[in-house]
């Protein structure tokens, strides 16, 4: 095969080999040769790598002495020889460096197909971004004047539309008024929902939201829908189901309506 053996291999074989590499090596491979850079930038590579890579764990770390926060993504490898579960750090980056902003708390809004949606917030700003750790790409969403003060609430969710295959970040805002004597939610004078579709570069208002959201959990995505725990103004618990494709809300009742007095729905999770 001569001196240039690797480069005479058909592209699909090279992609197959690359798809088995951990993220830091992939980054290096981009700089070996131009052909590799272009191969790694193809959707075929991304899909192949995703089909092979295991799920990872996102860890946020704050250094108390410095105004910065690190984000680490760990991937777990099955070690067949030792039966150990050991992790490899896939990526580490400083969030403040990424966004050019100061200190804030970062949480993961959601993750689908290797894309990770993160939210960094503090009393000064509320920033959202989606990054793709494998190819080291990210999109920062435009930061709007959206500072939310208690008792008003903001919630987010990250989903993938079933038919059009678009990734969407959903933001729900409620201006809340509490009853001064009981402290319970008395009214919601204003509510709105915005959707950011990846690739469009801007947020889009889709109108009001018909329910009172409980800010206890972030939206859980599965089956093309985002789910949140909600309450109507009478205090009945429901689960809100947002169709990411149609951008419509269709709540369903609590699965355990009879237990309302003794137990409340606390948060939702997804079994993957």
């Amino acid at each position: 095969m001569g001196d240039d053996g690797f480069f005479n291999l058909p592209s699909d074989i090279i992609l197959n080999i690359f798809s088995r590499l951990p993220a830091p090596t992939i980054l290096n491979c981009k700089l070996v040769r131009k052909k590799w850079l272009s191969l790694i930038s193809t959707p075929e590579f991304v899909n192949l790598h995703l089909s092979r890579s295991s799920q990872g764990l996102v860890v946020f770390q704050q250094e108390s002495m410095r105004a910065q926060e690190d984000c680490r993504i760990l991937e777990f490898e099955d070690d067949l020889d030792h039966n150990d579960l050991h992790y490899v750090p896939v990526i580490k980056f400083e969030l403040s460096e990424l966004l050019g902003i100061g200190r804030g708390a970062t949480v993961q809004v959601g993750s689908i197909n290797g894309l990770v949606c993160l939210r960094t917030f503090c009393h000064e700003y509320d920033a959202l971004y989606v990054c793709y750790p494998i190819t080291r790409e990210y999109i920062a969403m435009p930061v709007l004047d959206w500072l939310v003060e208690f008792p008003s609430q903001v919630l987010y969710g990250f989903g993938l539309s079933r038919i059009s295959g678009q990734y969407k970040v959903v933001r729900i805002f409620h201006e809340c008024v509490l009853d001064p004597t009981t402290g319970a939610l008395s009214s919601i004078p204003k509510s709105e929902c915005h959707v950011y579709t990846l690739g469009t570069g801007s947020w889009r208002g889709i109108g009001g939201v018909p329910f009172a959201y409980n800010c206890r959990s972030v939206g859980q995505f599965f089956n093309g829908n985002l789910h949140w725990v909600i309450e109507d103004l009478e205090g009945s618990e429901l689960i809100s189901c947002f169709d990411v494709e149609k951008e419509t809300f269709q709540p369903f009742s609590s699965p355990f309506p009879g237990e309302r007095h003794s137990r409340t729905l606390h948060s939702l999770g997804v079994v993957a």
Partner: protein, 163 residues
């Protein structure tokens, strides 16, 4: 027809490499080459099968691999011992230089031998894994075709992730 005491005649096939060398292989070996399976089953494998993309050096290795796998799987050993044995064999079999490995990978793809293709891809990936850019270039004897400016631009684009 054949009784259990009678020696069953083993079918053999002739495989011809790119450089004209003819190899005689038993059916249990030949059927592992998915690309010629139909020819064998359709009885169209006479007088020999030409494999235009594989040199005799590589074909000899491929046959060695298939032979060992056929023998291990048909032997009376338990599945666990056979697995262990194949694992040891595969590890030693992969102990060749990078260029042979690349050719084996390419041949396994062409001949459609899934287990060998998987093994070579995995081995090549493990060779590249955790290497620096310069080490990878050296290993596969490739020239850097990025200009200084181009390399800088790529690094800059992903600077936030070069931690």
């Amino acid at each position: 027809m054949s009784s259990s005491t009678e020696l069953t005649e083993k079918k053999v096939f002739l495989l011809k490499s790119l450089d004209g060398v003819i190899f005689e292989v038993e059916e249990s070996v030949a059927v592992q080459l998915e690309v010629i399976r139909e020819l064998i089953e359709g009885d169209c494998a006479r007088p020999f099968i030409s494999l235009y993309n594989v040199t005799s050096e590589i074909l000899a290795l491929v046959i060695e691999y298939c032979k060992h796998h056929a023998e291990t799987c048909s032997g009376g050993t338990s599945a666990t011992i056979a697995d262990e044995d194949l694992k040891t064999f595969d590890n030693e079999f992969m102990n060749v230089d990078e260029n042979i490995l690349l050719e084996l990978c390419s041949a396994a793809d062409y001949l459609d031998i899934k287990s060998l293709f998987e093994l070579t891809c995995r081995t090549l990936a493990s060779l590249i894994k955790d290497r620096t850019i310069i080490e990878v270039r050296k290993m596969f004897n490739v020239e850097n075709d990025f200009s200084v400016v181009e390399e800088k631009a790529v690094r800059k684009e992903f600077a936030w992730a070069f931690k």
